[in-house]
């Protein structure tokens, strides 16, 4: 069994640290050691996308990463999407308005993937959205509300930027 190592990184704007065995998954570290249970585990083999976070600004599957890989990095999870005063991100507002969630379990991953999609492509077509979000599985919504929500959020973000 390898020795636990010190891990230190920025997450949602704050520096956090702890110790982790090299084999400890990043998503387990975020949930158990940092107490940020918003990021969810759906498959542990990188398909469902519920564990999607932003790693140095890009979407990444935290179930396929090790905690020690995050050393010195800058992470954002769903808890970091809303503003410090609690004001929801346009994506969160749009998801709420358009019924883009039902059980909510895929939602954190879907939000982070949508955030990354809009970073890369601020004017996505419906097809772009469906393809861009195909990496996160939802079993409840049929994706319809999600697609509408991302369209609406993209429009709102363009008009306020």
């Amino acid at each position: 069994m390898a020795e636990p190592r010190k891990v230190r990184f920025k997450i949602n704007g704050a520096i956090r640290e702890g110790t982790a065995e090299p084999r400890k998954l990043l998503v387990d570290f975020i949930r158990d050691d940092l107490g940020l249970t918003g990021t969810h585990i759906g498959c542990e083999h990188g398909i469902c996308g519920a564990c999607t976070i932003l790693f140095n600004g890009e979407a990444a599957r935290s179930c396929l990463m090790l905690a020690v890989q995050a050393e010195g990095a800058d992470l954002t999870t769903v808890e970091g999407l809303a503003a410090a005063d609690g004001k929801l991100h346009p994506l969160q507002e749009a998801f709420w308005e358009h019924h883009a969630l039902q059980c909510g379990f895929c939602t954190p991953g879907m939000l982070m993937a949508a955030y990354d999609l809009l970073q890369i492509n601020p004017t996505p077509s419906e097809e772009d959205i469906r393809t861009g979000l195909s990496a996160v599985l939802c079993r409840c919504t049929g994706y319809q509300g999600i697609v509408e929500a991302v369209k609406a959020a993209a429009e709102r973000m363009r008009s306020t930027s």
Binding site: M1, F105, C106, C140, Q144
Partner: protein, 801 residues
């Protein structure tokens, strides 16, 4: 037609008080779910927990000769390793009971003791200070298994000479039911009725599926050795059922067992059963007097969470020259896996397939047989639609074959046979009563919205160019919100026919409505709040809806069988109404006016005085001095609701698709679901159930299949192999709603949660058959994969050159 019509944003103006039911209100539960503040079972942080990991069989059928856990026990961080024999001292095996004649029950110990019956069945459990260490120790468990002849084919398993999975059952056929109504000769392939111009005979196959909730199953058990209370946090749809089941298996008084389902990440029926892991985790917590936690990984989930459908149906439909149905016959064999699912029993799937086979049609003469056969696979259990996706696939497939042979338009043939509006209440051949359903109107609505006539014309044109464009229908009716007259499974451990609600007003005037139904995505926290708030004529924000905790909820079984709105709503109305009546009397008394004129009026002026619910509540809790003579203090009510029969919920699905002749890829051009779910509480929620259900149905039709190899190994053991639809795989769905209030349910509500999966496989199969009509290819199997299409089409294609 753009997607915007189907899921437009809610109105910005808040819905008026008393008019919340019917309003497109965004959900109250969403804020926490959107900000990562949901409370799923794996999020729950008890005291210092221990973590369980299960040692599972890699053999499909074997006798356990010996199991040696001594090396595992010695591993770092290991607190206990428990075998089946040891667990049996503190936990009785699960045995799903039924009073159905001919039913043979099976005993399922939480950890296998003498033999294992499917790959993935647990034989031992490791408990450690971390999940990582627990899984390390699994590798040190040594087991000696003596392989037994295994069975994976349901027809082979049904033979009397087949090796037995359960000696006590005397065979693998665990239930056999036969049913006949009207003038009919039992059995298939007999002489047709004299008036029959056509008999359609077909063998249908509906393969095995998995629910794949994005949240895997998760349990955290805590035991208080001081009070003797066991508390289980469980990702379950049915806290009440789990509580009763744990009391039975752990031999504990029911009032010492508490089950709490907080936020649950999807269920679809797969989280309505009681699982061996659930019983084990609870037993361990009690045994070790430490909190014990287990969360399934996806591989375990695909191996052990209850699977769905897996039936072979031989069916026959006889019609006269006008296309009027004369008789229907169906012989159903269901592969229910290794054990009878607990506590629903294996009966529910095949019997519902048979019960609902006649569909929305006038069928007076019906013969059916249902067999449930055990094989070495994971047990099947309830999954969205239970029996009805299969029965709809069969009946709608028979109807379409008849339409093609008779040269009658498939929509027209259905219209000719639908139960007519003047025939309700209509008792079907299987004894189910449809209280009311607008089948003809649904078909006309679906056709209009689809643009049916235009599509038929287009089809004629494109066929000439060698393109495969097809249109398909599926019409069905289901019984939702079933009451005590229609048990989900007769003689089952827990009764499913009632639900309850407590509505409580606090001294400060805030209202709590507590339910036995529990939400796992369907928005009950909002919709039941709308119902209660309207009854009390207060804003939605004044009502807190609570559910999922057996300690606070009046007894209820949970959310399944499309019953949440009908039964939770009905109980909520009764309880709120009782509170309202009492509050009105108190208000009138306080205002010294005629009790018949009393009315809660939030801020309303009455004779110069306003009276709020808060004032009324203060009076209610301050004692008899301020209350009408003889009135008991307090302001709360608990009511139970039994709709007795249940209420019909119907739909017609219609779609157009095109098949690429080179790649066999399927492109859905338009999908319409026309449905009637009675009074709509929240259009957003109903739309969401339709869209989500249809997409699950499309996955079932085209992508999903649980596959076992000939050694019983699960081939589809990851999400790479078991393909669940992604956003790129599915179209926009168009939902059309009729709103005929249920004449029998208290709020006029009908259930709608399962409807999508019921219609989609049948509609897709029919559309593909229609597209390939020039080749004569007619799918009789679900899923219709590219591979299936490739083989079928190439058999029929003329040779090139």
């Amino acid at each position: 037609m753009s997607a915007a019509d189907s899921s437009r944003a809610p109105d910005p103006a808040p819905a008026a008080i008393g008019k919340l039911v019917g309003a497109r209100i965004r959900r109250v539960e969403d804020r926490r779910l959107l900000t990562g503040r949901g409370s799923y079972t794996d999020d729950y942080r008890s005291g210092i927990p221990l973590y369980a990991a299960f040692f599972r069989s890699q053999d499909a059928h074997a006798r356990i000769v010996s199991i040696d856990v001594s090396a595992a026990r010695a591993m770092p961080g290991i607190v206990a390793v428990v075998t089946g024999a040891e667990l049996a001292r503190v936990a009785k095996p699960m045995r799903a009971r039924s009073t159905m004649p001919g039913y043979r029950s099976t005993s399922q110990p939480a950890l296998a003791i003498e033999k294992v019956r499917f790959v993935g069945e647990a034989m031992a459990v490791v408990v450690a200070t971390s999940r990582y260490l627990a899984e390390d120790a699994l590798e040190k468990i040594a087991v000696e298994l003596e392989p037994l002849a295994a069975l994976f084919d349901l027809e082979a398993a049904a033979k009397t000479e087949a090796p037995r999975l359960h000696d006590e059952a005397g065979g693998n056929v665990l239930v056999s039911r036969e049913f006949a109504r009207g003038e009919i000769t039992p059995g298939l392939d007999r002489a047709a009725p004299a008036a029959a111009a056509l008999t359609i005979r077909e063998r249908f196959r509906f393969q095995r599926h998995a629910a794949v909730c994005i949240e895997p199953r998760s349990y955290v058990a805590e035991y208080n050795s001081g009070t003797g209370e066991l508390v289980l946090h469980s990702a379950t749809q049915c806290p009440g059922v789990v509580r009763t089941a744990l009391a039975e298996t752990l031999d504990m008084p029911e009032h010492q067992v508490r089950v709490i389902a907080t936020d649950v990440g999807g269920g679809f029926g797969a989280k309505s059963s009681v699982y061996p892991e659930e019983v084990t985790v609870a037993a361990l917590a009690r045994m070790l007097e430490r909190p014990v936690k287990w969360t399934s990984d996806r591989r375990e989930d695909l191996m052990t969470t209850s699977q769905a459908w897996d039936e072979v149906i031989d069916a026959e439909l006889a019609l006269d020259a006008d296309g009027t149905i004369l008789q229907l016959k169906a012989d159903v064999i269901a592969d229910i896996g290794a054990y009878s699912v607990y506590p629903w029993t294996l009966v529910i799937e095949p019997v519902q397939t048979v019960s609902f086979m006649p569909g929305p049609y006038r069928v007076s003469n019906y013969w059916a047989r249902a067999l449930a056969v055990a094989t070495c696979k994971a047990p099947t259990g309830p999954y969205r639609g239970v029996g009805r996706p299969v029965s709809t696939f069969v009946m709608e497939g028979l109807i379409d074959r008849a339409a093609r042979k008779l040269g009658i338009d498939p929509a027209e043939l259905r219209m000719r046979n639908f139960v007519r509006p003047d025939q309700f209440p209509y008792k079907t051949a299987t004894g189910i009563v449809w209280d009311q359903a607008p089948f003809e109107e649904l078909m006309l609505t679906a056709c209009a919205r689809l643009g049916y006539d235009e599509l038929r014309a287009e089809q004629q044109l494109v066929r000439a160019t060698g393109r495969y464009l097809g249109i398909g229908f599926a019409a069905y009716c289901e019984l939702t919100g079933i009451g005590s007259a229609t048990p989900a499974a007769p003689g089952m451990l827990v009764p499913s026919g009632t639900e309850a609600a407590t509505v409580r007003v606090d001294p400060s005037g805030t209202v709590t409505a507590i339910f036995g139904v529990a939400s796992h995505g369907q928005g009950l926290e909002t919709t039941l709040g709308q119902v209660v708030a309207d009854e009390l004529e207060i804003p939605l924000a004044a009502v807190k809806v609570a559910y999922g905790d057996t300690a606070s909820a009046p007894y209820g079984t949970g959310s399944y069988a499309s019953r949440g709105a009908v039964m939770g709503g009905g109980a909520g109305i009764l309880a709120a109404r009782a509170v309202r009546e009492k509050a009105d009397l108190i208000a009138a008394h306080l205002l010294e006016s005629d009790p018949r004129a009393g009315k809660i009026a939030e801020g309303e002026n009455r004779g110069g005085r306003r009276i709020s619910l808060r004032e009324i509540a203060q009076a209610a809790y301050s004692g008899t001095k301020r209350l009408p003579k003889g009135m008991e203090p307090g302001l709360e009510a608990t009511r139970f609701y039994d709709p007795y029969y249940g209420t019909a919920s119907a739909a017609v699905h219609a779609l157009a698709l095109e098949i690429d002749p080179e790649t066999y890829a399927i492109r859905i051009l338009r999908y319409v679901a026309a449905e009637d779910c009675g009074r709509v509480i929240n259009p957003l929620v109903v739309d969401g159930q339709i869209f989500g259900g249809v997409v699950q149905g499309l996955g079932a039709a085209l992508l999903e299949q649980v596959v076992y190899d000939d050694q019983g190994q699960l081939v589809t053991g990851s999400l790479m192999d078991y393909i669940v639809p992604s956003a790129a795989d599915v179209p926009t769905i168009i939902a059309e709603h009729l709103e005929n209030l249920s004449p029998t349910s208290l709020g006029g509500f009908r259930g709608v949660g399962e409807s999508g999966t019921i219609g989609a496989p049948a509609a897709v199969a029919n559309a593909i058959a229609d597209a390939l009509a020039p080749l004569g290819v007619v799918p009789n199997e679900i899923p219709i994969t590219p591979d299936w299409l490739f083989r079928a089409i190439n058999k029929c294609r003329p040779e090139p050159g």
